[in-house]
Structures are given as C-alpha cells and as structure tokens.
Amino acid sequence: MSLKALDYESLNENVKNCQYAVRGELYLRASELQKEGKKIIFTNVGNPHALGQKPLTFPRQVVALCQAPFLLDNPNVGMIFPADAIARAKHYLSLTSGGLGAYSDSRGLPGVRKEVAEFIQRRDGYPSDPELIFLTDGASKGVMQILNCIIRNQKDGILVPVPQYPLYSATISLLGGTLVPYYLEETDNWGLDVNNLRQSVAQARSQGITVRAMVIINPGNPTGQCLSEANLREILKFCCDERLVLLGDEVYQQNIYQDERPFISSKKVLMDMGAPLSKEVQLISFHTVSKGYWGECGQRGGYFEMTNIPPRTVEEIYKVASIALSPNVSAQIFMGLMVSPPKPGDISYDQFVRESKGILESLRRRARIMTDGFNSCKNVVCNFTEGAMYSFPQIKLPPKAIQAAKQAGKVPDVFYCLKLLEATGISTVPGSGFGQKEGVFHLRTTILPAEEEMPEIMESFKKFNDEFMSQYGDNFGYSRM
C-alpha cells in the first residue's frame, strides 16, 4: 500500500493560507458558466485587451520584427513596416546578445535599463541609475522578489492598505510574514491618514511584530485614489521616522482621470524633500507594461527601481534574480518602447498619439459613466475612480440579505456578487477579496468594458440590484457604514 506523497494535509501551510480572490471563487464560477454557454462580462481583472482594447500599433510592429529578424533582410519589408519601426527593431536587437531567444543579463538588458533610467529622469527631474533598475516578468514578480528579501519569519510585518490588491496579502502569506493593515478612509475619497498608520504600527509592535516595510498603491487598486504631494511627503517622513522601506506600487501612473491630482512619483517627492530624507529613506518603486494605456498584460513586463538600498543588499537581490536566469526579452523590448515612445517628427508619432489619447480619454469617460451609474442606485455609494482601472462601489446590504448569505455559507459580498453573476453575467470580485472594514461591503469591477457597452452593463446591474433589494430589503433597514 503506497503512502500518498503529497496529501493536502502535508502541504506547506503558507500555501494553504494564501488567497487570491481576483482569480478565486467568483472567477471560477464565471468560467464554469461561460463553458455552459452563458455570456460573461469579465470585469474581475485589469485585463484591457481581453475586453476589446486594441494593442498600440507601433510596439507590435517593432516586436514582430524582433521575433523574425530575417524579415529585416527582406527588401520588401519597408512595404508593410514603417521605417521607424524597422529602425527601432534593429536598435533593440543590437542591445541583445543573440536576439529574443537568448537569456539576457539577469537584471534585464543594460540598454533597456538605461532607457528606463532616462525615462525616470525625464519624469522626475532627478538622475536615475540603471544599475539600480531590475526588469522583471511583470511587476508582480518584482514585488514577490522584494518581499522575499524582506520577510524573515512571521514576526516581520508589512504595512498594507486596506482595501489592497491581493497580490500583497497572498505573497505575505506565502512567505510566512504578517500583514499589518492600515485603513483608507472611504468617506474621505479613500484618503490616507497618517494617524491610521501610526495606530497600526503601534498595535503591531505591541504584539511583538517588527514592521519592516510599507506598501502604497498609487494610483490605488481597487480604490483608484491618487495621493497628493502632501500625503506622499507625510508618508515618506513616516517611513523615515519608523525605519520602513517604502514599496511604491505605481503601475497605474498613466491612468489618471482627473486633473486636480496628477501622478507624482514617490521618488520625485523624496528627492524634492532633500537631505537627510532623500539619502536615508529606502524606496522601491514598481512599474509595468500591463496597465496604463498599453495594457500589455500578456507580455509579462515590469521593473523595479531601488533607492538608498545598500550595495550588498542589491547584490543579494541580483543573486536571487540570477536563479531565474532572465526576464523574458520580448517584454523588455515592450518596456523600452513604453519608456521611449515615438517622438514628434517620427513617422509613427501621430498614430501613436491618436491611439494613446483615444484609449485614455475613453477610460476617463468610462470612469465617469461607471461611478455615476453606481451612485444612481439607492443603496450604492461609489467614490469616483480618480485613477487606475477599477470601480469599488460600496453596496449597502440589508439584514435579510446578510442572513441569507450566512445560510448559504457565504460571506455577504460573495453572496451578492454570485447572484449578480448568475443574473447578469457580470463577473466582479467581492470586496472581501481586497479587505474592507467590518460590516461594510463592496465589489470591484473594472472600467474596461467597451464604451458602447457600458450603458447596457450599468442598466443590467441596476436592474439586478433593484430586484435584489426588493427581494431582501425593506425600506429602512440596510446596513450602514
């Protein structure tokens, strides 16, 4: 009788404990229904191309040429590729040591990292060192690598916003660390109050936790808020005082839908604050090709930039990166193109600007349509999506609904979202997947469905919600925040 080699019981507990709702229960149910023939609108993950957004033309032309360099030898190549795409393909191929099929430096192609550094310098007005920029297979991999360096055991705590993108909670779980939550203020547009931070840290320390790092997601996910410069200064000062590494998840920096608070990078603010903070605060900033107006999720391309990390630590991070050999080279080229797009005067410039603007302006409109649509429902309150790609409405659930959820063995927002899915095909992620205050329920949806389909989707939601409320509600008794 053979022993069972890997029973559920003997699995690493950290794996069992980790949760990632974005592709969890709701998504799996939606996939099942899709297989049964139901039309599903997947708004569970920030995956623009899956909802009809077209890739930008220029980068695809360049990468196609890099995939098949023999095209460059063909005299007719100029007939179907513009000259600047051809030139750019040759440029990137020259940066590789054997084309897309060779492992690059484990930190990424030096030439591309140089372009990233130049981009950061233009954006922030301060020099950036390519040696401190590592390209990764998506920003998520970078986050995991950095957290893996920081977390030693479960006494190491990481400050994470609530609500948060569950990559953080899942990774902290997998690494056996402790998530130290700090709550964002929904009534204050998901604002970050430094007093909340202080409270969270104090409580953690009283329980013997060493708080090592703080995560900010700016613009926020799922909440969409853009941090003000003043807020960023407070945060940096706080990290300095408390000796925390600041992990700045800035993957949505291109997705800004209001003009009051443009994106400012944590690095710029830190440098603006001058010495001693600018030389002491440890900061790691993350970016990606998956979001913005590029939406190239499937390429798996990202980077992190380290500021004030000691050289020996950088070496160790490099060492771990080298075990994975190298990030994928096509995505590195996408990253190079993203940080150095066509310039005025380039053949492809006009088309590039037209395509980019088109996408961004549409996202801005859709952010508005969705926010307004949710707010038009009596029991729904929705902060405006200032940035990123999501809407995170608060659904005020009546006691009868909460009871019914309990009886069904489901968390109330999961119950609501499952019913929404079954009724309308709209696949969302329940707020419990991101964390929320006790007794307050949300769902996260993306603003990515095609603009022409938005009104119908909001109608569909509203109809479902009205029916849900008439089934479970009474006029006076729904849950309040």
């Binding site: 080699a5 998956s290 798996r300 000691p310 994928n328």
Partner: protein, 537 residues
C-alpha cells in the same frame, strides 16, 4: 566588487525555522496572531560574510534580509562570470593587454547567444501573432510561409478575442495546452490531459512552485542528484528546506544506484528529515547521462514505495547524441509499469530553452502534474494564479515546440533541415570536446550522452590545491579562474554543482559555434599544459 559566495557542499539543515501558524481565512491580519513570540536567533549569518553594511540602521540591510536569500547560491551566473564580464568590458579598450581577443561564454546553456539560429517556422508564427494586423495584408503572403500563416490563425482562434496581450487562464491558453497534450501523446503513445498542464515562464518557476508546496520547514527534504543543476539547491534554500544529496556514480557514466537512494533516504530519516520528493534530471545536467529504462523503472518503484513525489526535469529531452540511448519520459515509463494516477505522484518539467530550439530568452515551459488529489491541484492552481499567467509569446512557442511542422507541411523540409543541422552539430561538438578533454593530463571526461554540457574530472596536483587554499579559493574555482585569465574561456567550477568531496570538476557547454571549437580546444590544451607544468607534483 560583486561577489557571489561559491561554497562547497553546505549543510542546509541549520536554517532559521519558519513555523507555520494555523489561521482562519483570507488575509492573516495582525489581530489573529497568538501572543507567544518566536525567539529571534542572533547568529543567522555565515562567518564568511566579511563585514556588514555600514548603514545598519536602514531596514533592508544585509543584516536584516531574509537569511534564506543569503544562503542560496547560483554558480552558473556567479563569481567567475562577473570576472569575465569585467574582462570583456576591459577588452574593448585594452585589446593588447590580454592573450586572447574575446571572451567565450561556456558557462551557461544559452545557445542563441552563441549564434545558434532560431527555428524559422517558429519565429514566423510568433511574428504574426505579435502583430496580427499582418494577417490582413496581401503582402504578408510574400514574406511568410503559408503554413506559418495558417498556424498563426489557428493559434489566434484559440485565444479569446485574438488578444495576445491579455492575461490568459492561469494554467495557460486552453487551445495551446491541447496542442501540448497532443504532442505529449504523440511522443509517449499515451494520452495526456491538458488540465494537467501548467504553463510557466520557463521550467524554473514550475520547480519553485513545487518546492513551495512541498517544503514547510527545514525538516522537509528533497533528494537531489549530486552533481546537480543549482536551481534545485537554490530553490530548496530559498524555501527553507533541506537538500538530501544522492551521489551519481562517475565511474559508471554517472549512473544512478537505487542503493544510494535508499542509503541517503535512511540517513535523512535518522536525522529527523521527512523526505518529500526525488528530483531526477534526465538527460542530466551537468552530467549529460541519459538514464536507461531499467534505471527509470527502479526510480519509479522507489518513489512509489517510499511515497515520494517524483520531480522529473526533462528539459533536455530533445538533446540526445548517442545511438545507444533514447529519451523515455518518466510518465511513459510509469504507465508502462501499470502505475496510474493513484500510484505515483509525478511532475514532469519541459522548457523551450533547450532542445534544438534554444529559446531561452522567451521564457517558456510547462509542468505536467499527474497523480495528485484535486485539493492539492487546486492549491497549485491558486499559487499559479497569484502571478496571473505566464507570458503569451512563450506559451505559443511551447505549443509549437510540442507540435512542430509535420511531413507534408510546406515548412517541414526546412524545419527538419534546421533541426537536424543543430542537433548533429551539437553531437559533433560534444564528441570533439570530450575527446580533447580526455587527452589532457589528469583529466577524464565522461561522454555527453545528452543535454548541453561536459563535466570533466580534473585530478588536481597537490601543489595546485595548496595554491588554491592560499588564495582562499576552492581548487576547481582556482583552476577555472586561471583558465579564464589565460584563454578568455568561461566555465563553471564543479563546486557550483556539488561533487564527491575531494574531487574536482568544471562544467563547459558544447555550444560555441563549430568553427570556434578548434581554437577553443587549442587554447584549452595549451593552458592546461602550462598549468600542469606549473603545479605538477
């Protein structure tokens, strides 16, 4: 100067403990923590870490990063390579300062960086999938083969919305997994289930995932071949487990003895280690042996009997150079013995980086997971989902590798010519280098039956060993550094792969282009002669 610690065989048992905690739901919030603290051990670091970071008040210094990170090593891109890169930079400005005019990287299985060409058909399909607008243009037919256009259409039809820029299913695009399963079936003559396939950014992330599942603490051991590809030792270290070595027998062509497996298993048990899995690399890396079917059957039996997961690293399955050996997948062998899903837990790894396709930079691969209960498979899926999915281009390439052009296809002739050209050249280079190494004084080299490496054994004279000790370097590293400085040839010291203590090796790839091989052989021969002249006892 950057310095990766290249160690000798280190005992991985004394590591910081990570006791997992029971917990309820979703996010492990602060409030759920119990109150008893874990004693923080004061000395976590190796004595050979010279000095600490001066800025020790900062949170992420060497003193306070995860000790598992400090412990792990990866020699393939370690110390020698760093020296080589510096030399290469310096060569550009100081051409005459060196007895060689280029650095030849023989440290890493990275064929296309040494001028191996990609397979045309594969790249045609990838280019069309990268920029689908090409498929709408008439001119495209003049630039691409008809079957590559057809295959691109077929693949795009399997991708929802033809969106190659979208995240896919976390196991990989279903249609591509179907193609891979069909390829596995054609290879083995046995059915394969696309739902058993998990596509990853190269095979390495798959190995990491399995280590994560298997290892809860340093009491969990993984049996690994010595010598081994250091992904395994590094991954086990990173996840806080214990590497349980089993020694391959150099005298019998790097054979694997079951008695050795049994011995090491018992030894580990007596030390309180629960061995969870057996890793086998076939064809071997760095050793290049192709296991006999009989050997494979014994291994399967052993795993079944001892309740071990069999981790079958088969990334070199298309690299076999000798007529008397053939690759058989462990899945085929297990099934041919009548062992099914209920009898043996098996994870088989494949990659697009090796073979004749050598697409390292694309990062594509998969693991085929069989013999696990559904609740365990759900956990594997969950871990895969946190990273969303592997890169789409790599997924497409993996499906092409497992279902290449067939006889009758327009591209078949050129595809076969390219494939056989590369493989036959590899076989010739393997032979030439092996013969050359065996001619050198004090060097014996087993033949490379498969994979991409030679792993010669150097019988270093006492004087050389003493000189190495004086230089505070491992003897094989000492030899390899000398080799680099004299010839520009970059190899990896055997200690990076582990070896029987007191023996010395280095790993050299067979990948430099054929026309460079004679020069490499000459330089190597000359260097070795002068080394022996200097250090002969």
């Amino acid at each position: 100067m950057r310095r990766f610690v290249i160690g000798q065989a280190k005992n991985l048992i004394d590591q910081t403990r990570r006791r997992p905690r029971p917990h309820n739901n979703n996010i492990r919030l602060l409030s759920l923590l119990a109150s008893d603290p874990i004693p923080v051990s004061s000395s976590r670091f190796f004595s050979d870490m010279t000095g600490s970071d001066s800025s020790s008040s900062l949170p992420v210094t060497l003193d306070s990063i995860n000790p598992n990170v400090l412990k792990c090593e990866y020699a393939v891109r370690g110390e020698i390579v760093n020296i080589a890169q510096k030399l290469q930079d310096d060569l550009k400005i100081n051409k005459d300062a060196y007895p060689f005019d280029e650095i030849i990287y023989c440290n890493i299985g990275n064929p296309q960086s040494l001028s191996q060409q990609p397979i045309t058909f594969f790249r045609e399909v990838l280019a069309l999938c990268s920029h689908t607008a090409l498929l709408d243009r008439d001119e495209t037919h003049a630039l691409f083969s008809a079957d590559s256009i057809a295959r691109a259409w077929k693949i795009l039809d399997q991708i929802p919305g033809k969106a190659t820029g979208a995240y896919s299913h976390s196991q990989g695009i279903k249609g591509l997994r179907d193609a891979i399963a069909a390829g596995i079936e054609a290879r083995d003559g046995l059915p394969a289930d696309p739902n058993d396939i998990f596509m990853t950014d190269g095979a390495s992330p798959g190995v990491h995932m399995m280590m994560q599942l298997l290892i809860s603490s340093e009491k969990d051991g993984i049996l690994c071949p010595i010598p081994q590809y250091p992904l395994y030792s590094a991954s086990i270290a990173l996840h806080g487990g214990s590497l349980v070595p089993y020694y391959l027998d150099e005298a019998s062509g790097w054979g694997l003895e079951i008695s050795e497996l049994k011995k090491q298993l018992e030894d580990a048990k007596s030390k309180g280690i629960t061995v969870r899995a057996l890793a086998v690399i076939n064809p071997g890396n760095p050793t290049g042996q192709v296991l006999s079917e009989e050997n494979q059957r014994d291994i399967v039996d052993f795993c079944k009997k001892e309740g071990l997961v069999l981790l079958a690293d088969e990334v070199y399955q298309e690299n076999v150079y000798v007529p008397d050996k053939k690759f058989h997948s462990f899945k085929k062998v297990a099934r041919s013995m009548g062992h099914g899903e209920k009898d043996i837990s098996l994870v088989s790894f494949q990659s697009i980086s090796k073979g004749y396709y050598g697409e390292c930079g694309k990062r594509g691969g998969y693991m085929e997971v069989t013999g696990f209960t559904s609740d365990v498979r759900e956990q594997i899926y969950k871990v895969a989902s946190v990273n969303l999915c592997s890169n789409i281009s790599g997924q497409i390439l993996a499906s092409l590798v497992m279902s290449p052009p067939k006889p009758g296809d327009e591209s078949y002739e050129s595809y076969i010519a390219e494939k056989e050209g590369i493989l036959s050249s590899m076989a010739r280079r393997a032979k030439t280098l092996e013969e050359a190494l065996n001619k050198l004084e004090g060097i014996t080299c087993n033949r490379a039956e498969g994979a991409m490496y030679l792993f010669p054994c150097i019988n270093l004279p006492q004087k050389a060993i003493a000189a190495a000790e004086a230089a505070k370097t491992a003897p094989d590293t000492f030899y390899c550094k000398r080799l680099l400085n004299a010839t520009g040839i970059v190899v990896v010291p055997g200690s990076g792969f582990r070896q029987v203590p007191g023996t010395w090796h280095f790993r050299c790839t067979i990948l430099p282009q054929e026309d460079k091989i004679p020069a490499i052989v000459n330089r190597l021969t000359e260097f070795h002669k002068s080394f022996m002249d200097e250090f002969r006892d």
